[in-house]
C-alpha cells in the first residue's frame, strides 16, 4: 500500500487538514486517472476504451459500478453511457464490473466540506474539487451512498460513452477512408454517408489498435434521446417475473448453507457455548466459533437456522448502556461546552432578539434499516483465491476484508456484486462479509452461503443514531424572529468508519446536517449548535443520515414558532426563505396541495421543508382524525434535483422515500433492554403498510444549478410534515418519534 494509503488507513482526513493536504499533493496527481481494470481481462479482438465501456466482436458491455439497492442506478448508469455511445442499453450487456479504485466516487467527500450543499459559488466548488482530489489520493473509495451516484456519474459516464463512440468512428474512418466528420453513429453502429452501417462489434479489433479519442464534447441536453425521458428500467421484467437474482439466490455446486449467531449485545463477547444439541440435528455439518459468536453450517438454510437457535450461548455484557433510558440520560447530559461538535450557524443575536419565547425538546429514536433481503454472502475460498457473491455499497473494502481474513492476496479476491433487496445504508456494513470470510477460511474448498435470520439482521442492524434537540425561539408581530437549536447525538460517521478501521478527526457534519443548512436567510436571528455524545450503541448511516432526525427537529420547531406567531405555515416559511430555488419548491407544493383551501373538521394539513444532499424538498401531508386513530389521506412532494434523468424512476423514488419517512415516523424505533434490541422482526418494526398509504403526487423542478441524487432527500421532510399535519388536525403537538408512542394510526 502506498504511503498515502497507509496514512488513510489510520486517519481519513476530513476538513481543513485535508484541504491543506490537497494543495500539497498538487492538482495534477489528483486529476490523473487510474488504470482501466478491464484491460487485464480483455480478450483478443476486444477493446476497452475506459473503465466503463468494453466492445468485443460479440457484444457491447457497459460497466455500471454503482451498486443497485433498488434506486435504479443500474439502468441510469447504462443510460448515461448509452446516451453518448448511441446504443440501446437494453441491447448491451450491463455489468456491475469488478471493484476497483478506477470507480472511486468523486463527490462522496463533498458532504465533508463545511459549506452549505446549496452553495455552488466558485469558492465552494473549488473546495469540493480539492476535496475530491484529496479523497482520491488518500482513499479512493468505490462507494454507493450519500445520494451521490447520479452526480458522480453524470459527466464521467456520458464522457466514457462519447470517447468510445468517437474512437469507434475513428476506427471506421481508418477502415473506410471516409472522413470522421462524415460519419454518424446510431443504434450500436457507425453509419456511413451512403447509409450502410458497421456495427460497433465489427470495429472492436480495429479500435483496439488505436489510441482512444479523448477530445470529445458532451451533447447538449436538448439533443438527448434517452435521458430526461421516461425509461424502462433494465431490471423491471426480471423483477416482475421472479427471475431477478439477488445475492440470496446465488447457488454453487456442492454449496452448503450457513447462518450465524453473534452476541445480541452488539460488540459483546461470546463467553462460551454448547453446541451438542445442534451438532446432532439433521443436516448439520459444523458449528464453528467466529468472532463474537458461532456459525452453523448445514445442508440447507432452514436446518442451519434451526440448529443455530439450538446452540446454547453464554453472551457477555454490552459495551454500552444496557437500558434505553440510560442512552437518553447520556444525551441529556451532552449539551455542554466540552461536547460542542460545531456551531455552524450563528446569525444575528438570538439572545437579545425581542419577542415571545417558546422552548421545546425533541427526540428521534434509533431506527433499523431492515431491508427486506436479509444480509447474506456466498463465498468460496481455496488455497489460492477467494470468490464472494454479495450486494455491497463499498465493494472494494469488502474484498479487502476478505483478503485480510483469508490470507489470500487482494488481487486474487474476486467480489461479484449482486443486485440488492434494499439497503437503506445497511449494506455499508461489513459484519456479514467478515463472517463469510471467516467461515470460508475455516472451510476452504467448500462453497458456503451465509444467510442471516431476520432476527440476527435486526439485532445487528447498526441502526440510525438517536438524537435530542433543544429548541427555543421568539415570535413578534405575527412573525418568527429568532430560532436557536441545539442538537445532541452520537457521531454516526465515527461509529461507522471506526468499524472500517478509519478515524475521523474534526467535527461530524451529520450532527447538524438538515438543520444548519436551511435556506431561511430572512430569519435574521438564528443559531444551530451540535453536540457530540460519546458512542452508545453502534450506529450507522440510515437513509438521509443526519438530515432525518435533524430535519424533523428543526422543521417541527419552526412550525411551532409559526403557529405561536399566528402566521400561515407555508406563507411564513416562504417569507423566511432567501433562496429562490427553494422558494419555488415550496410554492409548487403549495399549489399542488391547494394549500389554504378549507378542510372538514378533524382534518388537517402539514407542510415541511428540508434540504438534504443539496436537494430542496417540500412535502405536504393531509390527515384526518378518525375514531380509531389518524388516517393519512393525501400527500404531495416537490423537489428540485437540478436535472431529471428519468421522470418515472424519480417519481417512484419520491413516493417511496416519502413512504419510508412516513412509515418510520409512525411506528418504528429500536430500543435497548438488557443490552439487546427489543425489536426483532417486522411485527415490532413495521413501517408503513399499503392500506395506510396516502395518495402521493410528485413534481420535479429543474431550477438548481447542479444535478443531484434523489435516493435520500425525500425522506427527511416526511416526519415533520406528518407531525405538523397531526397538530393541525388535532391540536396535539408530538415532539418525539415514532408518533405512535403518543397517538394511534388507523
Amino acid at each position: 500500500m502506498s504511503r498515502a494509503g497507509t496514512i488513510a488507513r489510520r486517519s481519513f482526513l476530513i476538513g481543513s487538514a485535508a484541504l491543506l493536504g490537497g494543495v500539497a499533493f498538487g492538482v495534477y496527481a489528483a486529476k490523473r486517472p487510474f488504470a482501466n481494470p478491464n484491460l487485464t481481462g480483455v480478450s483478443d479482438g476486444a477493446v476497452s476504451f475506459n473503465p466503463w465501456v468494453i466492445v468485443t466482436p460479440e457484444k457491447v458491455v457497459l460497466i455500471a459500478p454503482h451498486g443497485d439497492k433498488g434506486q435504479g442506478i443500474f439502468s441510469a448508469q447504462a443510460a448515461l453511457i448509452a446516451e453518448e455511445l448511441d446504443i440501446d442499453p437494453a441491447r448491451a450487456e450491463v455489468s456491475f464490473g469488478v471493484p476497483d479504485r478506477a470507480y472511486y466516487n468523486r463527490v462522496i467527500a463533498d458532504a465533508a466540506v463545511p459549506i452549505k450543499s446549496i452553495d455552488t459559488g466558485a469558492t465552494a466548488e473549488l473546495l469540493r474539487d480539492v476535496m475530491g482530489g484529496v479523497a482520491k489520493l488518500l482513499l479512493p473509495m468505490q462507494i454507493t451512498g450519500g445520494s451521490t451516484a447520479i452526480p458522480d456519474s453524470y459527466d464521467k459516464l456520458r464522457r466514457a460513452g462519447a470517447v468510445a463512440r468517437e474512437t469507434l468512428k475513428r476506427a471506421a474512418a481508418n477502415r473506410t477512408g471516409v472522413a470522421v466528420g462524415d460519419l454518424r453513429s446510431e443504434n450500436g453502429a457507425v453509419i456511413l454517408p451512403d447509409g450502410s452501417t458497421i456495427p460497433y462489434t465489427d470495429l472492436a479489433s480495429d479500435a483496439a489498435r488505436i489510441e482512444p479519442v479523448t477530445d470529445v464534447t458532451l451533447r447538449d441536453p436538448s439533443e438527448w434521446r434517452l435521458l430526461g425521458k421516461p425509461m424502462q428500467r433494465l431490471d423491471i421484467v426480471a423483477k416482475s417475473t421472479g427471475t431477478q437474482a439477488y445475492g440470496l439466490d446465488h447457488a454453487l455446486d456442492g454449496m452448503l448453507h450457513a447462518t450465524v449467531r453473534t452476541n445480541p449485545r452488539q460488540g459483546g463477547e461470546l463467553l462460551g457455548f454448547d453446541a451438542s444439541a445442534a451438532k446432532a440435528m439433521r443436516g448439520v455439518h459444523k458449528v464453528l466459533e467466529i468472532p463474537g459468536g458461532i456459525a452453523v453450517v448445514a445442508d440447507n438454510t432452514w436446518r442451519a437456522f434451526q440448529a443455530a437457535e439450538a446452540v446454547n450461548c453464554d453472551w457477555g455484557l454490552a459495551p454500552y448502556p444496557a437500558e434505553q433510558v440510560d442512552h437518553w440520560a447520556e444525551i441529556e447530559q451532552s449539551f455542554t461546552d466540552d461536547r460542542l461538535n460545531a456551531k455552524p450557524r450563528d446569525d444575528g443575536d438570538v439572545d437579545t432578539a425581542e419577542g415571545a419565547e417558546l422552548r421545546a425538546e425533541y427526540r428521534a429514536p434509533y431506527v433499523a434499516h431492515a431491508p427486506l433481503e436479509p444480509l447474506n454472502a456466498t463465498i468460496l475460498v481455496t488455497d489460492t483465491r477467494a470468490d464472494i457473491w454479495t450486494g455491497h455499497q463499498i465493494p472494494g473494502f469488502a474484498a479487502q476484508f476478505v483478503a485480510d481474513i483469508t490470507g489470500i492476496d487482494r488481487e486474487n479476491v474476486h467480489l461479484h456484486n449482486q443486485f440488492m433487496g434494499g439497503s437503506f445504508g445497511h449494506r455499508l456494513e461489513f459484519d456479514v462479509i467478515r463472517q463469510a470470510a471467516e467461515i470460508g477460511r475455516q472451510m476452504r474448498g467448500t462453497p458456503i452461503k451465509l444467510t442471516y435470520r431476520r432476527e440476527e439482521d435486526v439485532a445487528h442492524d447498526y441502526p440510525r443514531h438517536i438524537t435530542m434537540g433543544r429548541g427555543r425561539g421568539k415570535t413578534a408581530n405575527g412573525r418568527v424572529v429568532a430560532l436557536d437549536l441545539q442538537l445532541a447525538a452520537p457521531s454516526v460517521i465515527a461509529s461507522q468508519m471506526g468499524r472500517m478501521g478509519l478515524s475521523v478527526p474534526g467535527p461530524d457534519a451529520q450532527l447538524h446536517e438538515g438543520a444548519w443548512d436551511n435556506p431561511y436567510g430572512n430569519l435574521a436571528h438564528q443559531r444551530v449548535r451540535s453536540y457530540r455524545v460519546p458512542e452508545l450503541a453502534p450506529v450507522s448511516s440510515w437513509r438521509s443520515v443526519g438530515a432525518a432526525p435533524n430535519g424533523f427537529i428543526f422543521d417541527t420547531l419552526l412550525d411551532e414558532l409559526i403557529h405561536q406567531a399566528g402566521a400561515d405555515p407555508l406563507e411564513e416559511r416562504l417569507r423566511l426563505m432567501d433562496h429562490d430555488v427553494s422558494r419555488k419548491v415550496l410554492e409548487a407544493v403549495g399549489e399542488m396541495s391547494s394549500w389554504g383551501s378549507p378542510l372538514p373538521a378533524g382534518s388537517g394539513r402539514g407542510v415541511a421543508f428540508v434540504i438534504s444532499f443539496g436537494v430542496p424538498v417540500a412535502e405536504v401531508v393531509e390527515v384526518t382524525q378518525t375514531e380509531s386513530g389518524i388516517r393519512l389521506d393525501k400527500a404531495w412532494i416537490a423537489a428540485d434535483v437540478g436535472r431529471v434523468i428519468d421522470p418515472v424512476n424519480l417519481q417512484n423514488l419520491a413516493q417511496g422515500g416519502m413512504i419510508f419517512g412516513l412509515g418510520h415516523a409512525m411506528n418504528c424505533e429500536i430500543t435497548y433492554a438488557d443490552g439487546m434490541a427489543e425489536q426483532s422482526n417486522y411485527d415490532s418494526h413495521a413501517g408503513m403498510r399499503l392500506y395506510q398509504c396516502p395518495t402521493i403526487e410528485f413534481r420535479a423542478l429543474e431550477n438548481g444549478p447542479k444535478i443531484r441524487g434523489f435516493g435520500e432527500p425525500p425522506v427527511p421532510p416526511a416526519a415533520p410534515a406528518l407531525g405538523n399535519a397531526i397538530f393541525a388536525a388535532t391540536g396535539q403537538r408530538i415532539r418525539e418519534l415514532p408518533f405512535n408512542r403518543h397517538i394511534d394510526f388507523v
Binding site: Q232, V237, T243, T301, G422, N652, Q655, G663, M688, L690
Partner: protein, 153 residues
C-alpha cells in the same frame, strides 16, 4: 411427500416441520419466493396453494401432500407474462423488487377471486405484503390496470 409445483410433480424427503419456502428455495432451486421474515409478517414468500395465496414460510411439509403450488415463476414468464406481471412492468412498480414476487402472487390471487376489486378490497388484500421501498401507489395502480386487462379478456 408428493406435491405439484408449477405443474411439475415433486417429491421431497424432509422433516415434517420444514417450511415450503425452504423446500422451494433450497431443495428445488425455485428462488422466486423470497425469505424476508420467516414469521408471516412480510409476504415476500407468498405462493399459491390450491389457488389461495399463502405464506410459504408458514406452510410446513406435512401440509403439502397432494397440494398444487404455484410460485411467481409458474404464474408467467418474461416470454409469456401473466396480466398482473404485465401491469407491474407497465407501471414500473419495482424498486429493489425483493418483495414483488409476493406482491404479484397476492394480487393475482385477489383478481382471480374478485376480478374488479374495490380500492378497499385492494387495501385489505395487499396489506400483509410489506414493501420497504414504498412502491404502494404503483402496486395499487398496477392492480387496477391488471383488473381492466383481465376483464377485457
Amino acid at each position: 411427500m408428493k406435491f405439484t409445483v408449477n405443474g411439475t410433480a415433486r417429491q421431497v424427503d424432509v422433516e415434517d416441520d420444514m417450511p415450503l419456502l425452504w423446500i422451494l428455495r433450497d431443495a428445488l432451486g425455485i428462488t422466486g419466493p423470497k425469505y424476508g421474515c420467516g414469521i408471516a409478517q412480510c409476504g415476500a414468500c407468498t405462493v399459491l396453494m390450491d389457488g389461495d395465496a399463502v405464506r410459504s414460510c408458514q406452510i410446513t411439509s406435512d401440509m403439502l401432500e397432494g397440494a398444487d403450488i404455484t410460485t411467481i415463476e409458474g404464474l408467467g414468464t418474461p416470454q409469456a407474462l401473466h396480466a398482473v406481471q404485465a401491469a407491474w412492468i407497465e407501471h414500473q412498480v419495482a424498486q429493489c423488487g425483493y418483495c414483488q414476487s409476493g406482491q404479484i402472487v397476492q394480487a393475482a390471487a385477489l383478481l382471480a377471486r374478485d376480478p374488479a376489486p374495490s380500492d378497499a378490497a385492494i387495501d385489505d388484500e395487499m396489506s400483509g405484503n410489506l414493501c420497504r421501498c414504498g412502491t404502494y401507489p404503483r402496486i395499487r395502480a398496477a392492480i387496477r390496470t391488471a383488473s381492466r386487462t383481465l376483464q377485457e379478456g
